[in-house]
């Protein structure tokens, strides 16, 4: 027992969390007593002893887990050794290793995907409760206050601990393999990034236990609603900090890995588009996420220390919250979409067996999107009372983003053009479904970009329709496409393709049935974020609720398929899709250190149907290769950095 608590692991982590909480709580109490204040403070927005306690508990948890063991040794000047040689902390030898601090990018990828899907189902269950409540006008099963907490937590969970990190998880698994690297650049930082996620998720879910109920100011947490809200809001503020720190650290890791660890010959114009997508996403994350961290700190300070960032009466500026928030959160919608673009490019090219049409333009369109996405934030604020002169410039830049986005859509269509489309592989189905649903979401986005239309439908169900077409029809579809595509690689086994197709069609029908009518009732004026509504919308809402239950049920098929196939599915072989990128050249699942020898890249990644074309060569030099192409060393590193 005692020995178990000394070894790094979940047991010691739990102990660390408890001790950390006690430390933080005690610290605040002592400091308050010293300054002559009452020991604890339980005013609505306050509870400093709990807030500090939660922060120190999180660090205690991480320390207990062993996340800082190496760095502590380093700090103390003791000898250190690289993580790969710490056998216990690198690679999975049994399922237990997935519950430990592990530095293998493949283990971390699986950890990410499984954890985020847990949150996907929790957030989904919240949606089901909301749809039950909304099936009819009046109050069904939850009070309006609880409903507010439900939609806030639903969105926060889906955005911060599902969509954003699940992409990081998928990329964690495949990206180092794709570029021919033995691991990520900073394996320990990588593991630390992952373990901050469950903390964020627990804070979001746990907020329901806070006195005064869960946070209810929406995922946007606008001031002054958030600065005056009960304790639960602070859980949101802290959760966003942990999720944000996690994604900044991962993004930094991806950037360094992509720039400094590509295999010989892998220059920037040979990178698979998934790598390009994560390169551009990571640039967005590193440069935009600190803004939401900053603004959540300000809210926390206003709540706890009674500063005046957003207190209009004391000289603060309440609208500055929205400006700073959206300066992050508009780029964030691309953080939630670009990795999906990368996945879809891989899936379409592989399953259609065609080279990507306009590969370089695809990569440049990504860069265009990230640059433009910093210039459009105020299209979320057309009705907020902000400077009127800002509206038209924001409208123009918003509409401009449709250009690079359109380029990508047309490139995928051109890639598909003339290929033999068979609707049998689930990954391909989801990619095709994505093109349809995302395009619809993009079109409603362009409509919203136009000031007059936006003023009409602001804060109605039209917005809900838009965000779900881009986030469910966009991001989630690509996530499913990616999971099905790489499932054989990650587990070594094949999933049930028939169940996969059932999952796809039910999801598509459920998704369209749920979100298409929302456009209509939104135009008619049904407000979003309400537990009750006028009787005229009753029939539509009943229909929407029915379809949403279908949508929810379809996800259980997915869950069943994944679990059963992981355990009992037929062996998949190394390359069931006959794909070209490097991750398919190694065994399934890949060996613990990925490669015996770093592969050499000799051509583009998508040259399907090109006679004699090769992307990469594994293993010792073959004679025929020597002449193929000189390996690009050193000089390859001068890409867009």
């Amino acid at each position: 027992m005692v020995a178990a608590l000394k070894r790094p692991g979940l047991g010691r982590a739990a102990l660390g969390g408890l001790l950390g909480f006690g430390f933080g709580y005690g610290l605040v109490v002592v400091l308050r007593l010293i300054s002559g204040l009452p020991a604890t403070q339980t005013a609505q927005t306050g509870y400093p002893q709990l807030i500090v306690g939660m922060i120190t508990a999180a660090f205690g948890f991480l320390i207990g887990l062993g996340a800082f063991d190496y760095w502590f040794r380093w700090a103390a000047g003791a000898p250190t050794y690289p993580a790969e040689l710490e056998h216990k902390a690198h690679g999975a030898h049994s399922w237990r290793d997935y519950f430990k601090f592990n530095t293998d990018h493949k283990v971390i990828g699986i950890q990410y995907i499984c954890t985020t899907f847990v949150f996907f189902f929790i957030g989904g269950a919240m949606a089901m409760i909301m749809r039950t409540e909304l099936a009819q006008p009046g109050t069904q099963i939850v009070e309006p206050g609880t409903f507010n907490s439900l939609f806030s937590a639903h969105a926060a969970i889906m955005i911060f601990v599902f969509v954003i990190p699940v992409f990081a998880g998928i990329a964690n698994y495949v990206l180092p393999l794709m570029i021919g690297a033995p691991d990520m650049a900073f394996p320990r930082l990588n593991a630390l990034s992952f373990w901050m996620l469950p903390i964020a998720g627990l804070l979001f879910v746990g907020s329901f236990l806070a006195p005064g109920g869960g946070f209810d100011a929406g995922w946007t947490g606008y001031a002054p609603l958030s600065t005056g809200a009960p304790l639960g809001q602070s859980f949101f503020n802290l959760g966003v900090q942990f999720a944000g720190a996690s994604s900044v650290a991962t993004a930094l890791n991806f950037l360094v890995t992509i720039i400094t660890m590509r295999a010989p010959g892998m220059n920037f114009w040979r990178l698979p588009l998934l790598v390009w997508a994560n390169l551009s996403t990571s640039l967005l994350v590193v440069a935009a996420t600190p803004f939401i961290a900053g603004v959540q700190f300000m809210v926390l300070f206003d709540r706890l220390l009674h500063t005046n960032f957003f207190q209009e009466l004391n000289g603060g500026d309440v609208l500055s919250y929205q400006h700073i928030f959206w300066f992050y959160s508009h780029p964030a919608v691309y953080i939630m979409m670009l990795p999906g673009f990368g996945i879809v490019s891989e899936v379409i090219s592989t399953h259609a067996r065609k080279p990507i049409f306009g590969y370089r333009l695809m990569a440049l369109a990504l860069i265009g999107i990230i640059v433009l996405s910093y210039t459009v934030w105020a299209h979320h604020m057309f009705v907020s009372g902000m400077f009127a002169w800002l509206r038209i410039p924001m409208m123009i830049t918003t509409l401009l983003i449709a250009v690079p986005t359109g380029i990508k859509i047309f490139s995928w269509l051109a890639t598909l053009f003339g290929s033999k489309l068979h609707l049998r592989s689930t990954a391909m189905l989801f990619a095709l479904g994505f093109i349809v649903t995302f395009t619809i979401g993009g079109i409603s986005g362009v409509m919203l970009g136009m000031v007059p239309i936006d003023i009409h439908v602001s804060d109605t169900y039209f917005i809900v329709a838009h965000i779900h077409f881009v986030l469910f029809g966009g991001s989630v579809f690509t996530i499913f496409a990616g999971i099905y595509h790489w499932f054989p690689k990650m587990t070594g086994r094949m999933y049930d393709e028939r169940l996969g197709r059932v999952h796809f069609w039910l999801t598509l029908v459920g998704m369209l049935g749920t979100f298409v009518p929302m456009h209509w009732i939104g135009m008619e004026g049904m407000p979003r974020r309400v537990a009750d509504y006028s009787a005229q919308f009753g029939d539509w809402n009943l229909l929407i609720s029915c379809f949403s239950f279908l949508l929810g049920a379809a996800q259980l098929i997915f869950l069943y398929n994944m679990i059963v196939s992981w355990k009992w599915g037929p062996l998949a072989g190394d390359n069931p899709w006959r794909a070209r990128t490097i991750e398919w050249l190694v065994s399934s699942p890949p060996p613990i250190f990925n490669f015996d020898q770093i592969p050499r890249v000799v051509g583009g990644p998508y040259e399907y149907g090109v006679p004699g074309a090769r992307h990469a060569i594994l293993g010792p030099a073959e004679a025929e290769v020597g002449a193929a192409e000189p390996a690009v060393a050193g000089s390859a590193g001068t890409g867009p950095t």
Binding site: G91, A92, H93, W95, F186, G294, G315, G316, L319, F593
Partner: protein, 203 residues
């Protein structure tokens, strides 16, 4: 899972990653980290802009808020000089001069600590708190955020100091990254202070 077990061989480690860029991982990492730090400051500067330019009516700083610009100016000089000492430490170890390294790092740490101490003292005597109007809020917001970064920098430098005493750094190219990387961060903290100082105390 069986497939995993079969491939587990401890006999050999991972293959050496191919170095595809001239810049090394640690340096690139700290530079990217600094980019995100700059943006964090950016959020607070954005708030400063809104509080001062958009929301404020009347003079800035408002009546009754007097800043000890002279003391802060001296403090600025102290922090800037620490950038030179940390650079001296790096140059010393590159030439194999361990004494210079230890002296430089030690001086940097002491200068940084002095800066923090003077700033703390300033907080105590300044006569307004973060609750006093928008000015109090953003004054403490910006200088406090910066102070937190100085603290982080001091922690990093403390580690570098310990390892310098123990003789872990040598003049070979990759054998003094532990001085170079915190040094880059420290320069960033200094430059950031010049911007914060100019904005808060002078403009």
């Amino acid at each position: 899972m069986e497939a995993h077990a079969a491939t587990v061989e401890h006999a050999h480690g991972p293959p050496e990653a191919h170095q595809s860029s001239r810049i090394d991982r640690q340096t690139l990492g700290i530079l990217l980290f600094i980019v995100s730090e700059v943006m964090l400051f950016g959020a607070f500067f954005a708030s400063y802009f809104f509080l001062r330019v958009v929301a404020n009516v009347g003079p800035w700083p408002p009546e009754g808020f007097d800043l000890p610009t002279a003391v802060a100016g001296v403090n600025t000089a102290i922090l800037i000089s620490s950038s030179f000492t940390v650079h001296y430490a790096l140059v010393s170890i590159q030439r194999g001069n361990r004494r210079g390294l230890i002296a430089g790092l030690g001086a940097t740490w002491l200068l940084g600590f002095t800066f923090l101490f003077i700033q703390f003292n300033e907080y105590v005597h300044i006569g307004f708190s973060a609750r006093n109007g928008a000015f109090g809020t953003i004054f403490y917001g910006l200088t406090g955020l910066h102070g937190a970064h100085v603290t982080v920098g001091l922690i990093l430098l403390a580690m570098a100091n310990i390892r310098a005493w123990r003789g872990h750094f040598t003049s070979e190219p990759k054998k003094h990254l532990g001085v170079e990387v915190p040094g880059i961060y420290w320069h960033f903290v200094d430059v950031m202070w010049i911007i914060v100082f100019t904005t808060v105390y002078i403009l």
